[in-house]
């Protein structure tokens, strides 16, 4: 009947897989940076995270006040340009902006230290367990199963109740369970890589197991670890804040977002800025980390599944 353009009904969405074979040649593979920068979420995440890192590193220079400077005359000053406290002051007259900037140092350091320790231990054990299997693998399987039986936050709270608040105590408590995810992913990846031809070839050439693991297999799984590390980092930072909020994480003398939010709770009705701004700072950093992590995953490791 002719020219009328006919829309099909009951269309199904999602996979254009059936038409994918019609789309012909694939585009040239661009480098890592161009691809990350052309990934909308990844770019935004990178900008947010970099901004936080710059602020955290330069906090002593950038912050208008010392984070601990108490000024009881200027308690609970509302945010504003005129007052000299852009984001207001807390119940002790401390400048909230300065404390948020210094708090960023604490949060990022905890996140970084925890992820580094977890990744180091987890990847190491995971690679060995995945490569050799055997008794060690079985023992670790039981042990990780036990660790996974505890909800993360409960585990860390239990550990902190024994160790007491403190920066390094918190890092160790978080890492003590944090390595399990790196372990599981590294182990699974090594199990699938170790039978590939390039590993066989290295073995035939007489390379030692240590050389094969570090020089042949590790470079092939490092991307996945980087993605996991970035995604976990946001989690660790939320967990740090949660514990500091309860008074079990970073000791009160250090400025931490979680304890700032806890301080602000009591003044929520009269001075909501005390708790609101540190919360926003936290949420934005975590958002940035998650965006960056997903961006990295899309760019580096399209195979890796969510969750």
């Amino acid at each position: 009947m002719g020219q009328a353009s006919l829309h099909t009904d009951e269309l199904y969405q999602g996979a254009l897989a059936r038409s994918a074979d019609m789309s012909g040649s694939s585009g040239a593979r661009a480098g890592f940076w161009p691809r990350l920068m052309s990934h909308r979420g990844g770019r935004l995440g990178l900008i947010i995270v970099l901004a936080y890192v710059v602020v955290a590193v330069a906090a002593p220079v950038l912050a208008p006040y010392s984070p601990g400077a108490v000024d009881l005359v200027r308690r609970l000053v509302p945010p504003g340009l005129r007052t000299g406290n852009l984001l207001g002051t807390d119940q002790l007259g401390r400048d909230i902006l300065s404390r948020i900037m210094h708090g960023a140092r604490v949060s990022i350091l905890v996140g970084l230290a925890t992820v580094c320790i977890s990744a180091f231990v987890g990847v190491g054990l995971g690679m060995v367990a995945g490569y050799y299997g055997g008794v060690l693998d079985r023992a670790l399987a039981r042990f990780t199963e036990l660790l996974l039986a505890f909800p993360y936050l409960i585990f860390v709270i239990g550990a902190m109740s024994v160790m007491g608040p403190g920066f390094w105590n918190l890092v160790w408590a978080l890492s003590f369970k944090g390595w399990v995810e790196f372990y599981r992913l590294a182990r699974a990846l090594v199990m699938s890589e170790k039978n590939r031809e390039y590993v066989e070839a290295a073995r035939v050439l007489g390379r030692s197991d240590g050389v094969i693991l570090t020089c042949e297999i590790l470079p092939n799984i490092v991307n996945s670890m980087l993605v996991l590390g970035t995604l976990r980092m946001g989690n660790m930072i939320v967990m740090e804040s949660s514990l500091s909020f309860l008074g079990l994480g970073i000791p009160p003398r250090m400025p931490a977002w979680g304890s700032m939010i806890n301080d602000g709770r009591r003044y929520m009705l009269t001075s909501p800025w005390v708790a609101t701004f540190p919360g926003l700072a936290l949420a934005l950093l975590v958002l940035g980390m998650n965006l960056l992590g997903e961006g990295l995953r899309d760019v580096l490791d399209p195979k890796m599944m969510e969750g």
């Binding site: 006919l6 099909t8 009951e10 199904y12 254009l16 038409s19 012909g24």
Partner: protein, 366 residues
């Protein structure tokens, strides 16, 4: 037997309604596009074909030539954002593209059924195979006793409740009978099993059973044997042949295997770059292909006892977003002329009733 009739693009108007008379399926000047980031993919370009009752038609071509898109267009199941832009699909004279969604749904499964390539992914892993067979009946409100006779029972809730149990027993017997019909051993137990408990060949038989549940007049089979072992392939083809013979179901089988189509089909349509380039009786095409592409396909088939090296068609399948004015096959064609690159040949009917779309082939055959 079935005769294939093609319609010349230029004379599409006067080819008229008469040409499709008596045909079960009559596709005319069908165009389907998939918009993509790089432009519109013209997956089906001006395809016309007919299928007579009881006919077996093979649609042959390389992957990506638009065979599957053609089947999905006939079913009006082109995945979004793809769409049919132009043409007609007539089933028994009724244009399917004019039907309402509900009317079209009634056609699917009941009058045209479809079988897909990979039974492993096509059967729903969460449902028992028996239930999946019964579902075809139920959605069309049919009772097993007369799968050909549509029942209005679904409109009457009371009678449905009343006869619920008897219906279910009847349905179960029908499912078992159908499974036996497609060659599944001990169906009285196996209809309660899940797809993953069957082998690939058995899964394909189940898919065929689902397709046959409503006794459709036309079966579209999209590479039904590609995912199967060679020995199983032959069994499934035998089954389809039997069905064609015993039940009178017309079959359109899509395949990339020209030899299979030559053995199995009455007629063959060869597709290239979204178009039909040659179409005619299977014997004629297998013996004397006219289009250089068909010839290339035939020469690239291994033959028993032949010591000649296999022929390969050079070049690649063209990008369907950028088909120009000339013949799509010209860049790969050994016999191309300047004319081939300048303009596309119309579909031309040859003396022996075949249709081809080629300047060179036309000259040879006339």
């Amino acid at each position: 037997m079935g005769s294939v009739m093609m319609h010349e693009v230029a004379s599409g108007v006067d080819a008229g309604a008469a040409a499709g008379a008596g045909m079960l399926l009559d596709v005319r000047n069908l165009h389907t596009v998939y918009p993509s980031a790089r432009g519109n993919v013209r997956a089906v370009r001006d395809v016309s074909l007919t299928v007579a009752p009881r006919e077996v038609l093979g649609v042959v071509g390389e992957s990506g030539c638009g065979k599957s898109a053609l089947m999905l267009s006939i079913m009006r199941l082109v995945p979004r954002p793809g769409r049919i832009v132009e043409g007609n699909v007539r089933l028994d004279g009724v244009d399917l593209l004019e039907l309402s969604p509900a009317q079209m749904r009634d056609v699917r499964g009941k009058r045209i059924a479809m079988v897909f390539q990979d039974p492993m992914t096509t059967l729903n892993p969460a449902h028992r195979v028996g239930d999946q067979i019964v579902e075809s009946l139920r959605v069309h409100g049919m009772t097993p006793s007369g799968a050909g006779r549509p029942e209005a029972r679904r409109d009457c809730l009371r009678s449905r409740l009343w006869q619920g149990r008897r219906d279910r027993e009847e349905e179960r017997d029908y499912v078992i009978e159908l499974m036996r019909r497609v060659g599944i051993a001990s169906p009285e137990h196996r209809h309660l099993e899940y797809p993953h408990q069957f082998s690939g060949g058995m899964q394909q038989r189940i898919m065929i059973a689902i397709a046959l549940a409503c006794k459709p007049r036309l079966l579209l089979a999209d590479e039904p044997t590609t995912a199967l072992d060679v020995t199983i392939q032959a069994q499934v083809l035998d089954l389809m042949e039997e069905i064609n013979h015993d039940m009178g179901t017309a079959i359109v089988i899509v395949t990339h295997d020209l030899a299979l189509a030559g053995d199995f089909c009455d007629n063959i349509a060869v597709m290239y770059a979204g178009q039909i380039v040659e179409c005619g009786p299977a014997d004629a095409i297998m013996e004397d292909p006219l289009h250089p592409y068909t010839r290339g396909l035939l020469l690239s088939m291994p033959r028993l006892g032949s010591r000649q090296p296999l022929h390969a068609i050079s070049g690649e399948v063209p990008d369907l977003t950028s088909v120009g004015a000339g013949c799509a096959f010209a860049p790969r064609c050994e016999r191309r002329t300047s004319r081939c690159e300048a303009e596309e040949s119309p579909l031309v009917q040859t003396r022996d009733g075949r249709v081809i779309r080629c300047h060179a082939g036309t000259i040879v055959s006339l």
